[in-house]
């Protein structure tokens, strides 16, 4: 493909930077409002004509490249779009996924989507893609967070069986981890209905694109795996919490018992010393 053709495709394409926010800033276009428990909005940060050499996707943003589809399928165009997605996601270890469906071609990599379709269908497909991208991104973030927590879990696992005086100082950390796990579970619970939602009937292009991408990225299976992993975390930290609570209750009782023992010993020593000093004289 010649340089002039590259430039021609780029000039007819559009790049949109989409961010997922809680509240849209004044003047921002809200593309999608997610259902209530999620409390997120996809907003358009900016849009511009595509360049042949895209900048890497900024963190927490979704890049959408929209290219008007030609009348006949053009392999060069698809190659250019694939390269474009690759260049926009240099940190991605895997190749981008490609879906061709009813004349629409979609390239997906984490944080970046390229959509080659007829301008009439663009809005509907883009909405489905943004939804999918949000849920996939959430799932990936949960996987990453859980990955970081495994070493801690292994370190804390013995405390699920036995809690002692030395562990008292770890209570704050255990409580923090437990809250983290609950927060992750809540995040997962919020997206689960949307990831596991049944296929729409009658199907539309947008719904089918979303369903196909969910299958390709194994969202359902990943969600089950995460749920299984979270159960392990919940079980360990729940037991840790119980052990810690039991220990602290018993410790308070023991402390009082020790105070009584010390006072009795003090009295015994006083009596003993008095007795001995009397005997000595």
């Amino acid at each position: 493909m010649r340089l002039s053709e590259h430039n021609q495709i780029a000039s007819s394409s559009e790049v949109e930077h989409v961010a997922f926010v809680t509240e849209a800033a004044a003047g921002q276009t809200v593309l999608i409002e997610f259902p209530e428990p999620i409390k997120r909005r996809a907003v358009l940060v900016r849009s511009s004509p595509a360049s042949s050499h895209p900048q890497p996707v900024p963190a927490n943003e979704l890049l959408i490249l929209s290219v008007p589809a030609p009348v006949e399928e053009d392999p060069n165009l698809l190659a250019w779009v694939r390269d474009w997605v690759g260049a926009a996601t240099p940190d991605n270890d895997h190749k981008s996924q490609m879906i061709a469906f009813q004349g629409a071609q979609i390239f997906w990599a984490p944080g970046c989507i390229a959509l080659v379709t007829h301008p009439d269908r663009r809005a509907a497909v883009r909405k489905a893609l943004i939804e999918f991208a949000y849920y996939e991104n959430e799932l990936r973030a949960i996987e990453r967070d859980l990955g970081f927590l495994w070493p801690d879990l292994e370190a804390h696992a013995p405390l699920a069986f036995e809690f002692d005086e030395k562990s008292v100082r770890k209570r704050q950390q255990l409580s923090k981890r437990f809250q983290q796990i609950l927060a992750i579970r809540a995040r997962l619970a919020r997206i689960t209905p949307h990831v596991l939602c049944p296929h729409l009937h009658p199907p539309t292009l947008a719904s089918q694109v979303g369903e196909r991408l969910r299958e390709r990225t194994r969202l359902t299976h990943r969600l089950e795996f995460i749920s299984g992993q979270l159960e392990v975390f919940e079980r360990v930290y729940d037991l840790c919490g119980q052990r810690a609570s039991d220990f602290m209750l018993a410790r308070t009782g023991h402390t009082l018992e020790w105070v009584i023992i010390i006072l009795l010993l003090t009295q015994t020593i006083l009596v003993g010393v008095e007795l001995m000093s009397t005997l000595g004289k």
């Binding site: 100082r169 010390i262 020593i269 006083l270 000595g280």
Partner: protein, 360 residues
């Protein structure tokens, strides 16, 4: 793990101890700063025990194994204390309850209380601190002391009273120092990765204790007579008065906290050159040094006394001028350092190695 600050503090205690023992035993001159040596030494016993305990736990040693070794070590030091009294202070002073028997008893006590919550340990320390003057008053302390030294009858009651309240280093209130060392080290060295050691707050607490001790000392003359004579006793080490114990505990806490902050946490001192090397050697052989310097200055005194008349102790506290005793103490320190370095180089163990060999 060895902390340079602990070696430095132990070396300070050794220097003070050698200097004061030479001055007191050879010349009869008492020197006020000497009162820091024993509190520092016994405080560091508690610190070292905590560090040793942590290392044993990290090695996965069971609780009963740790107990066994601690009891053996405690009994070893207790027995060594008696042997030291008999051989160095002569059999008449077998039950004078010197610092080694206190350290032995402290280890046995720490073994019992090591798993208790810190507030309980603090309570034991406070009770030990408060019991000291009460027990002394109950036992009529002055009747057991003749011309500045402890002179009990060889009866069970006197021996037990000496151990508990009226000897040179009785359990009450001296147990406070190992206990305070243990508690402080627990706060400083347990999980150092998670929490910053409370060096500043400990130093401030120590400073408050010093101010409290000095204020009490100054205000003693204004206190009611029963309080001034029974509760407060002025600034004396024998008996260890409330003011003295409070002030020394404060000073020891300040030195320990600031030493840890400025030496152990300073990467500049990690290589341990120069004075730190000296401190490392003295710190490693502190027990040997304690025994050695006594032998070096007391045995010649007893031998010379025996050769000159019937009483071997006739020259005790009046053998030489203090101006000769002081250089002799420095000569002793230098010679002992040379000997200890040689032992270190040739990997010869001191009394510490014998203890480990017998007890571990």
């Amino acid at each position: 793990m060895r902390y340079a600050s602990i070696d430095v503090l132990r070396t300070i205690a050794i220097f003070l101890m050698v200097l004061v023992h030479f001055m007191e035993n050879l010349s009869g001159v008492d020197w006020a700063p000497a009162g820091l040596g024993a509190p520092l030494f016994t405080f560091l016993v508690g610190v070292s025990y905590r560090l040793w305990l942590s290392s044993q736990e990290a090695k996965g040693k069971s609780d009963s194994d740790i107990s066994t070794v601690t009891i053996r070590r405690g009994l070893f030091l207790f027995a060594l204390g008696f042997a030291f009294n008999i051989l160095v202070w002569l059999p008449e002073d077998t039950f004078n309850w010197d610092v080694l028997t206190l350290i032995g008893a402290s280890l046995l006590m720490l073994n019992v209380v090591r798993n208790l919550p810190l507030p309980v340990l603090a309570l034991i320390g406070i009770v030990a601190f408060m019991l000291g003057p009460v027990l002394r008053a109950t036992a009529d302390y002055p009747t057991y002391w003749t011309q500045g030294y402890f002179d009990p009858d060889l009866t069970l009651s006197d021996v037990v009273l000496g151990f508990l309240a009226i000897g040179y280093f009785p359990v009450f209130p001296w147990i406070l120092f190992p206990l305070a060392g243990f508690v402080t080290a627990t706060l400083f060295f347990t999980d150092p990765s998670e929490n910053e050691p409370p060096t500043i707050s400990t130093a401030i607490f120590g400073a408050v204790l010093i101010v409290g001790a000095v204020s009490t000392r100054l205000l003693r003359s204004y206190a009611p007579v029963p309080v001034a004579s029974n509760v407060l006793g002025g600034w004396t080490m024998f008996p260890a008065t409330l003011e003295y114990i409070t002030g020394m505990l404060g000073l020891v806490l300040v030195l320990f906290a600031l030493g840890h902050r400025w030496i152990d946490r300073n990467p500049k001192f990690a290589e341990r050159k120069g004075l730190f090397k000296v401190a490392g050697t003295f710190g490693k052989y502190s027990l040997s040094m304690y025994l050695l310097h006594h032998v070096v200055h007391l045995w010649p005194l007893w031998i010379y006394g025996a050769s000159m008349g019937e009483d071997p102790t006739q020259f005790w506290r009046n053998a030489i001028s203090v101006w000769v005793a002081i250089p002799l103490s420095f000569l002793c320190l230098a010679s002992c350092y040379w000997l200890l370095r040689w032992m270190e180089r040739t990997e010869r163990g001191g009394v510490e190695s014998w203890m480990r060999h017998l007890c571990d």
